[in-house]
């Protein structure tokens, strides 16, 4: 930013302004001639087309200036002039004075307008922004059947308002900072005072303030620059598109990071168990949610371990397979050219390719690709005697299982590969070796000081009521111990609903 005081001469200011900003086709300089008392005074309103709202500026700035400037008596001096205009004439909600040209330029670049008046050593900043943004829509990644369907947008102010509307409490604290040399991205760190520990909030702010980068185009940039384990496959920072999820996590004592221009908010600390949770778990009754959670765990494990398990069993321990199935499998594998491990790896790659094609292509074509790929390619490969049917089933299952818990996308491909190779060489023993290595690695992670695998390891038995199952809401009286500080209780102890006591059948109820 250029540090330059404003000059009292209008033309000097305008020229300096033009020099800083260069040839800008969207720059609008609206010259005005103000009648002040008996004298005439030149002024200029500067703004960027398509960022500022011309209608609002016309109604609330230009019109009052031209019509009512005459009200000013001769007694208004040059020094008071801007203050008088700010207090008595313009009618935009946000207005303040600014004496530094560099700051005035950067404010104009953000969409506000600036008014220069000849003879005044200063300028007036007028907030009248209006630019195209996406409206609040249902998030594309996290869809729910029951529960709020609003999602964050690219506009930080909208996002903050979505959050405020859910938590209209003065203890919701929002700390704003700007990150990015060129992008000057506004970043808001949100927490609830008294729930998030001060150390956690300070740590988040320290890590963010360390960042010195040219631009922050999405919250993904920040995630990669502040995460605990940059080399790990496991994500240590959570993300969500849903304001209700952010509100829920803030109420657990977590800290959220909202980034202007990104519809995805970050939340920390992020623990492994969040992978198997979905917002809907809390909005519907507990039984289905609990079963679904267990299914998610099984599918998550299956997605990582099944290919390796399949390779190990078929190659090294066929005696474990039920007898009838062994015969079918053996017949199936008769005459296949590739070793099993290679077959699984190869088909896994094809599946990932299909998935990527389905995402990148336009939606109708994408679906066609997936169907053609999955059905025709799979069947043809089996018919042609290239792969066994079982391999196709395993690969398809594993791929679908991965979609159930999308939070670990990074983990799936590489750990599958790692385990499949180990199992191909050492059988089940190799699988155990790989398992111990992966578990050790996960256990060694921390997210903002909290053990990543908590509360399973270190084991905290009472806390498991909201991990593999989702206990009834009225039993979840405490916030997660690993995250929250002192303020543990989130509801009154006895909230279990019960029907009112009524008189027995046939008797009249006392009134």
């Amino acid at each position: 930013m250029v540090d330059l005081p404003l000059s009292p001469k209008l033309e000097d200011n305008l020229q300096a302004f033009q020099e800083i900003i260069g040839q800008a086709p969207d720059l609008v300089v609206r010259r005005l001639q103000l009648k002040i008392g008996s004298r005439e005074r030149a002024a200029a309103l500067v703004y960027l087309d398509r960022l500022a709202d011309p209608a609002m500026l016309g109604d609330n700035v230009v019109q009052p200036l031209l019509r009512r400037a005459g009200q000013m008596g001769a007694k208004v001096t040059d020094g008071d002039l801007l203050e008088f205009i700010e207090r008595n004439i313009v009618t935009v909600p946000g207005a303040r004075r600014e004496t530094n040209l560099g700051r005035a330029v950067s404010i104009v670049l953000r969409g506000d307008s600036v008014l220069f008046v000849d003879g005044c050593r200063g300028s007036l900043i007028l907030a009248a922004r209006e630019f195209e943004t996406r409206r609040v829509e249902e998030p594309t990644l996290e869809t729910v059947i029951r529960g709020p369907k609003e999602g964050f947008t690219e506009n930080l102010n909208t996002n903050v308002s979505l959050l405020r509307r859910r938590l209209p409490d003065p203890r919701l604290r929002l700390q704003e900072m700007k990150i990015g040399r060129y992008s000057q991205t506004r970043v808001v760190v949100a927490h609830i005072a008294g729930l998030a520990t001060p150390e956690m909030v300070r740590e988040v702010e320290t890590r963010l303030s360390r960042i010195d980068i040219d631009g922050v185009l999405d919250s993904g940039y920040l995630e990669q620059l502040i995460e605990d384990a940059p080399y790990s496959l496991f994500p240590t920072i959570g993300n969500t598109e849903k304001p209700d999820v952010v509100a829920g996590r803030l109420l657990e004592g977590r800290v959220a990071i909202l980034v202007d221009g990104s519809p995805v908010a970050l939340t920390v600390p992020r623990l492994l168990y969040e992978t198997i949770q979905a917002p809907e778990d809390y909005y519907s009754r507990p039984y289905n949610s609990s079963v679904i959670r267990i299914i998610r765990v099984l599918l998550l494990l299956g997605s990582i371990f099944l290919p390796a398990f399949y390779i190990a069993i078929v190659n090294f321990h066929p005696e474990m397979i039920p007898r009838t199935l062994t015969i079918t499998l053996a017949a199936d594998r008769e005459g296949l050219p590739f070793p099993l491990a290679l077959e699984v790896l190869f088909f896994g790659l094809i599946f990932e390719g299909l998935r990527e094609a389905g995402v990148r292509l336009p939606r109708p074509v994408g679906q066609a690709v997936t169907i053609v790929g999955a059905l025709i390619l799979g069947t043809a490969a089996v018919d042609a005697g290239l792969v066994s049917a079982a391999t196709v089933i395993v690969t398809a299952f594993v791929g679908i299982a991965g979609f159930v818990t999308p939070g670990l996308t990074d983990v799936y491909i590489l750990s599958r590969l790692f385990l499949a190779i180990l199992a191909g060489v050492l059988g089940l023993f190799g699988l155990v070796i790989g398992l111990v290595v992966i578990v050790t690695h996960t256990c060694s992670l921390r997210s903002f000081g909290v053990p990543y695998t908590a509360p399973v390891a270190p084991l905290d038995f009472p806390e498991l009521k909201d991990i593999f199952i989702r206990a009834p809401l009225w039993t979840l009286t405490t916030r997660p111990a690993s995250v929250t500080g002192e303020n543990r209780y989130r509801m009154r102890r006895v909230l279990r609903p019960a029907p009112p006591k009524t008189a027995g059948e046939g008797k009249r109820r006392k009134s």
Binding site: E319, M320, L428, V437, V439
Partner: protein, 367 residues
């Protein structure tokens, strides 16, 4: 300090159980049955009492020297050079016992599952994993165990549950004390080495968040292991009967017996899998103790490189110490009692010296 982490009392119990249980389930029923026959379950009770006593000595030492490992206080008690010699002996014990365990698991895998794979492969990969785990420190080791131990226990109970139809307790467990009490005592000797594995607490007590709980922690662990061991020995003997003497790994044979609707059969690889995971924890705990002890004896600041050096020594010993599985089993019976003397003798001797020389925090002074 070398190790910055702290573990809770519960984690210490879990670690101890994982250190003793998986390998003792695999190897003990056979070793005990050779001596005590159908009274092996009485040997288990006997050895549990012994484990409690041996653990008590360790807990007392830990109380006398808060915040210190055995390597540190043996130097306080005996002077620098003799203290270090005791420390080196302990390092040797940790490494040799670990080599024994790794070799046992290695032979088991070679014999039962992958006869064409050379032993070295299993030994090397086991030790590499142990080194990897240990480098992350005690806290991570305890957390990893928090995940694996429940799996091991669940698999064990699962096995017992599925084997119930095959039980013949009356035929196989009677008569009690057929040959008097001596065989029972002899059967307890090989088990003693496993139950005395609580001596890893000599190294771990100072890293507990509440070292005062050490006695309770050891007692709980020994009783838990004793209970499970009793269960498995009873189940093994009442299922297999005299066959137990012929099978090196009777608990595994048990898993093979499982046959549910001719669909779930031959679950032994799966059961073994969980025990191998538990065994890896045991190896890691021993390797951790050996590494920490080595680092403290030689005054090394950072134990990272020591894990690798120790791991290499461990791998070498595991491969060259024994010719084959037969020699291994023979030694288990013949040499381990001497090890047992050392494992119990060193802490007992240290405690004796501490009492006589009135070193450390005196029990009475604490109150």
């Amino acid at each position: 300090m070398l190790e910055g982490g702290k573990i809770s009392g519960r984690q210490a119990v879990y670690l101890l159980v994982a250190t003793i249980l998986p390998s003792s389930i695999l190897f003990l029923p056979h070793l005990m049955y050779i001596e005590a026959r159908q009274d092996a379950w009485l040997s288990v009770m006997l050895v549990t009492l012994f484990g409690l006593a041996a653990g008590d000595i360790i807990a007392r030492l830990g109380r006398r020297f808060p915040g210190q490992t055995v390597i540190e206080y043996s130097q306080v008690l005996l002077g620098r050079i003799p203290g270090r010699l005791v420390g080196l002996t302990l390092v040797g014990l940790f490494i040799c016992l670990n080599a024994f365990i790794i070799r046992e698991f290695g032979e088991l895998l070679v014999i039962h599952f992958m006869p064409e794979t050379p032993l070295v492969v299993f030994v090397a990969s086991t030790i590499l994993v142990a080194v990897y785990v240990v480098r992350h420190g005690l806290e991570v080791l305890a957390r990893v165990n928090d995940i694996f131990l429940p799996v091991v226990i669940i698999m064990l109970l699962f096995l017992v549950l599925l084997v119930i139809p095959e039980l013949h307790p009356a035929a196989n467990l009677l008569p009690v004390l057929e040959n008097g009490f001596n065989p029972v005592a002899r059967g307890a000797v090989p088990a003693g080495v496993f139950f005395a594995a609580t001596f890893v607490m000599l190294m771990l007590i100072p890293y507990m968040s509440q070292p005062r709980q050490a006695r309770r922690v050891i007692a709980r662990a020994v009783l838990t292991v004793g209970a499970f061991q009793l269960l498995i020995v009873l189940v093994v003997i009442s299922t297999l009967g005299p066959l137990t003497a012929n099978k090196l790994f009777p608990a595994l044979i048990l898993a093979r017996e499982i046959d549910i609707a001719a669909f779930i059969t031959n679950l032994d690889p799966l059961i073994l899998l969980s025990w191998i995971a538990g065994g890896l924890i045991k190896v890691a705990v021993f390797h951790y103790c050996a590494t920490l002890a080595t680092a403290q004896v030689f005054g090394v600041r950072n134990y990272g490189p020591v894990t690798v050096v120790n791991g290499a020594v461990l791998g070498l010993l595991t491969v060259i110490l024994w010719e084959d599985a037969v020699e291994l089993t023979y030694q288990a019976v013949a040499v381990l009692p001497y090890f047992l003397t050392l494992i119990v003798g060193i802490p007992a001797g240290l405690l004796l010296v501490a009492v006589i020389r009135k070193k450390g925090v005196l029990p009475r002074a604490r109150r």
